[in-house]
Each structure stands twice: as structure tokens, then as C-alpha cells.
Symmetry: C2
């Protein structure tokens, strides 16, 4: 399925570079290879899953349109793929989503419906819209075609690691519901068994790390309260958790300040723009203790409000 | 020579991606393809020329070491290549060069000697150092091997343009002394004659544009006074000017504010970090009048002080 998704995406989704900077390695005390998914179309890996899911729909369903729930990156990935396939697209976004993500989702041609995270029922609003218009819900992670799409990051990584002479390394992946982490883990299982996925999450939103440790899906106590807005999901996915439970190592957890510092270091040494939730894997690779000499991090997204980015620079660059 | 330089660089210099964003195109009113040389090792295309020149030196000269004059990007390119070749490296930098460039040049292992632009004679200091230690001067642009190294950007661009379906387009290139612009022009002359180099310079430092218009090398009235520090050279190179005179179209000129706005747009839509002098070609492509439907811009560097970047975001993002 991952290979089939890659074939459907060819020419529409970018093969992102694996970046590396000697001065960054010196700060980390190890070699860090960074898969720059912030350079992906729409600014995050979500363009892959969105494309995979929509390109796999039957033509009639595509013509009726798609629906997505998202705080931003999944919204843009789905909106971009829907527009390219001529499919109508409705996106339900929390009203506190970063302005740049709302604006970009609209600019890709999607109809954005905002709701209040605390007082409104997202699922009920979505169900009404879906039933009224015959829309197909594109889930952000718990969908086999979405996982397969995100898994194409792993296909590329397996090739790029060989080229960089790396046969064994942990691969840190920013983790919300686990769609990217599980897709990458599946790709690497066959193609590069020496590369093991390690999820990275923000402090206080480490449901995946706790779930992996306990063997059962755990929930986060809060729904918001970290600058890493992109990856604040309540609990691991039903499909993604068993995959990661089988294939991933222990989950890493980083503080908001570590994510912001990783953004500043990526600015200075890699010249890429990361959002906080897209920088947690790099933060884990940079600041983790007892890691091996070579570590891979997937920098998952770069859709960040300028004020947040300026704060990261002011405090840590 | 360009092909030979590319062969010497293989595995040491990055093939940079040609980026593109639909929302950026909408703002510009045309399709803009951006060659992201800010993702190059050391953060600018100067890694190419430095590698080309040092790898072409006789072993004895390499062992004695190299000398460079630079406000920053050339310094880092030469320092990086020298370290990789085991060659001692001395860099003369103006004391007002951006701190990040001085720090990075030192971090690559070079000995940095600072001088005052207004009161000290750079050439005299350099000559003394060179004679005392038997160093070889690596010029920033007026050197055939440096021009050949920068020309490898053109080799890649010719292939990438074909892949993007572009046979005819202006190629805006940020221009100081003209090393990159002339190298790219030479590569494209043979490989992609429908792609024509257009130099881009900051307002008040448009010596190349005026020289191309008049047919004779002109000088800038001032040595400093633009935020585009990387490309404030006094006059076109002796070697580069005849090449550009024969091959380039009229030069473009952009204001500092347009360069800063291009940085902000590259942040939002391409998620890359550009320095002001590395953004003037993108600014010309974005804001120029009467341009064709498709335009290519080489985004030449991303070594920018955080405060300057934050200012660009605050004012224009």
C-alpha cells in the first residue's frame, strides 16, 4: 500500500531532502540527519496522506467531496489534494488554530468551518455536514490510506540513509495520533530494519509514550496548553497504536522550550522554518540523553505564526 | 570546467531543490520556481565555489593554506572546503559582518582576522598575511575555478527546469561581484538556452545593472548602507562582467523593503530561511513588472542574524 501510494503521488508530492550540518552536530554531540518535511507541499508531511487518501477514493465519492477535522496541517494537506483532484472540500477547524493555517486552508480552496473547542461538538457538526452533502471523511491518522501515504516518508528515508552510510539509527518522528510514525515504521520494517522509529511528543501530551510503556492506549489529561498545536491529539489511534506497539522503541518527550530551541537551531544551522510541533523530533534528537552517534529526525512541518517564530529566535537563537 | 567542478564536488556539495508554492504564485501573479541555495552546506552557494577552487589547487599550495576576504558567505564556503581538504584557512572579515557569519566561519576551523572597513586597508593586511605564510588567495568571484563552481547551480537548474516543464524563463540571480550569475549563465548557455540570467541587486548598489546598461564597468557610490550585506561589492568582476555582458538580460534592482518582504514570503510559503542579500532575486521575481508567466529565482543564502529576520517577519509576514 505504501508503494502504491508513492506511485499515485509521483510528481505531486515532493521528495524532501535529508539535511545535515556539522555545526549542529557539534552542539548535539552526535550526527543528526534531518528529513525536512517542512519543505513538503503545503508545508508538512500531511500533503502525503491527504493525496494518498483522496487519490484512492472512488470517482463518485471524490465528486461529492471530502471533509476533514484539523487544527491546520491535515487541513492544508487535504485541501491541496482535493483541489488538485477537483473534489469539493470542507474543513472543520478549531477557532484557536494558528491564523496562517486557517488562511492557507482557505487559499487552497477549501470551505473552512470554525468551531469552539470548549463549547461545541466537532463530531456532531461534522456528521451533519457529511450527511447533508454526502462528503467522505478523511481522517487525520486512523485510515489505512493515510498511514500508507505518510509511510512514503519512510520509503525515501530508507534510500537516503543508505546513501548517507547509515544502517542503524533511531528515527525520531513527531507524533500526534501516530499516522506518520506508524507509516514510517511499516516502511522501515522491511526496507531498513536497522532504523527504528521513536515517537516524540510534547510534555503533558505524551499519550503515545505512556501507551507504548503500558501496552494500552492512554489519554492526555488536557486538550490544549502546549505551543506544539499540531500534535495535541487526545490518544493514540486505533490503527496506529498496534503498529507502533510492535515496531517503535520507547517514546521521547520534550518540553515546549526544547521545541522552540530546536526551531532556533534549525533556523541558524539548517535554514529551514519549523513549527513547534514539527520540531519536537529534532528536539528529542538534539537534547536526548544516551543516544547513539547517529540519529535521524523527521522535521514534520513549518506552518508557524510569525510571532511564535520570532519568540523562538528571540529566546534561543 | 563547470562539469569538472561538479565531479570534484560530488558527495560534498548538496544538490538543492527547486521549490514552488501555489499560494506564492498567487501573490506574484506568476509561477515562481525557487532554487533554494540557502539549503546548501554552509547556508549559501559559496560552498560550491570554495570547494571548486580548493579542490583544484596543487597539493603543496593546499598544504600551505588559503586566504579569503569576505563579509561572510564566501568565508564560510572557503572555511568549510579548506577544513575538509585539511588546508589551513585565514579569513579577513570586516568588523561589521553579521555575528552569525563570523561565528560560523570560526566554527568551521578558520582563523578569522577582523578589520575596520573605513580605516584599515584590507588588501595590505591580506598581502602581509599571504606573503608571510605562503597562502593562496581564493577570490570571491574573479577566479575561473570559483565561477565554474558556482556554475554547477546552472547545471542543476537546467535539469530541474526540464523536469518542471519550463523551457523559457528569466533566471534571477542575486548579484554581488557576479560569480554566481556568470557561472550560471555559462552553464545555461549550452544546456538551456531558453533560460536567461538576470542579475538582481539592492537599490544604491546596482553597479552590475548600470554596467550592463552602459557596456562598461561602473562603481557604486557607497560601500555600505543596505541590509543586503552579502552582495555589496564595489564593481562587477573583471572576469564576470564580459560573461554577463554577453549572456545576461538587463539587471533588476530591488529595495531593502522588497528584499525583507521576499524573506517574509519565503518564510510563510516556502518555509526556508533567507538573508536579505539572498532574497533580492526572489524579490525581483515577485515584484518585477511585465515579467512572463514563469520566472526562476536563485535564493542564494540564509545566513541571517535572528534580529534582522525577526524584523522582516514583524514588518511583512
Amino acid at each position: 500500500m505504501i508503494r502504491a501510494a508513492a506511485a499515485r503521488m509521483a510528481g505531486h508530492v515532493r521528495r524532501t531532502p535529508l539535511l545535515h550540518a556539522p555545526l549542529l552536530d557539534r552542539i548535539a554531540g552526535r550526527r543528526i540527519l534531518v528529513k525536512a518535511e517542512c519543505l513538503q507541499r503545503t508545508g508538512s508531511f500531511k500533503a502525503r496522506g491527504g493525496w494518498s487518501a483522496i487519490s484512492a477514493l472512488p470517482p463518485e465519492a471524490r465528486a461529492r467531496g471530502v471533509l476533514a477535522f484539523s487544527s491546520g496541517n491535515h487541513a492544508q494537506g487535504v485541501a491541496h489534494a482535493a483541489a488538485a483532484h477537483g473534489a469539493p472540500c470542507v474543513v472543520l477547524m478549531p477557532s484557536d488554530a494558528p491564523a496562517v493555517k486557517v488562511a492557507n486552508t482557505r487559499a487552497y480552496g477549501a470551505e473552512v468551518v470554525l468551531y469552539d473547542r470548549d463549547t461545541e461538538d466537532r463530531d456532531a457538526i461534522g456528521a451533519t455536514l457529511r450527511d447533508a452533502r454526502g462528503l467522505t471523511l478523511v481522517k487525520p491518522y486512523d485510515d489505512p490510506q493515510v498511514i500508507a501515504g505518510q509511510g512514503t516518508v519512510g520509503l525515501e528515508l530508507a534510500e537516503q540513509a543508505v546513501k548517507a552510510g547509515v544502517a542503524e539509527a533511531p528515527v525520531y518522528v513527531c507524533c500526534g495520533g501516530g499516522g506518520l510514525a506508524s507509516g514510517v515504521a511499516l516502511a522501515l520494517e522491511t526496507l531498513a530494519p536497522g532504523l527504528q522509529v521513536r515517537t516524540a511528543e510534547p510534555l503533558g501530551f505524551d499519550d503515545m509514550a505512556r501507551s507504548l510503556a503500558s501496552g494500552r492506549r492512554q489519554r492526555n489529561p488536557a486538550a490544549s496548553g502546549s505551543v506544539c498545536d499540531a500534535i495535541l491529539t487526545p490518544t493514540p489511534g486505533e490503527l496506529t497504536f498496534p503498529i507502533l506497539s510492535r515496531l517503535a522503541g520507547p517514546g521521547a518527550v520534550v518540553s515546549d522550550d526544547q521545541a522552540l530551541r530546536a526551531m532556533a537551531l534549525a533556523f541558524t544551522h539548517l535554514r529551514i522554518v519549523l513549527e513547534p510541533g514539527g520540531a519536537v523530533a529534532l528536539a528529542a534528537a538534539l537534547f536526548g540523553a544516551g543516544l547513539p552517534d547517529t540519529v535521524i529526525a523527521v522535521a514534520t512541518g513549518g506552518n508557524v505564526d510569525p510571532a511564535t517564530f520570532a519568540t523562538a529566535l528571540e529566546r534561543f537563537a
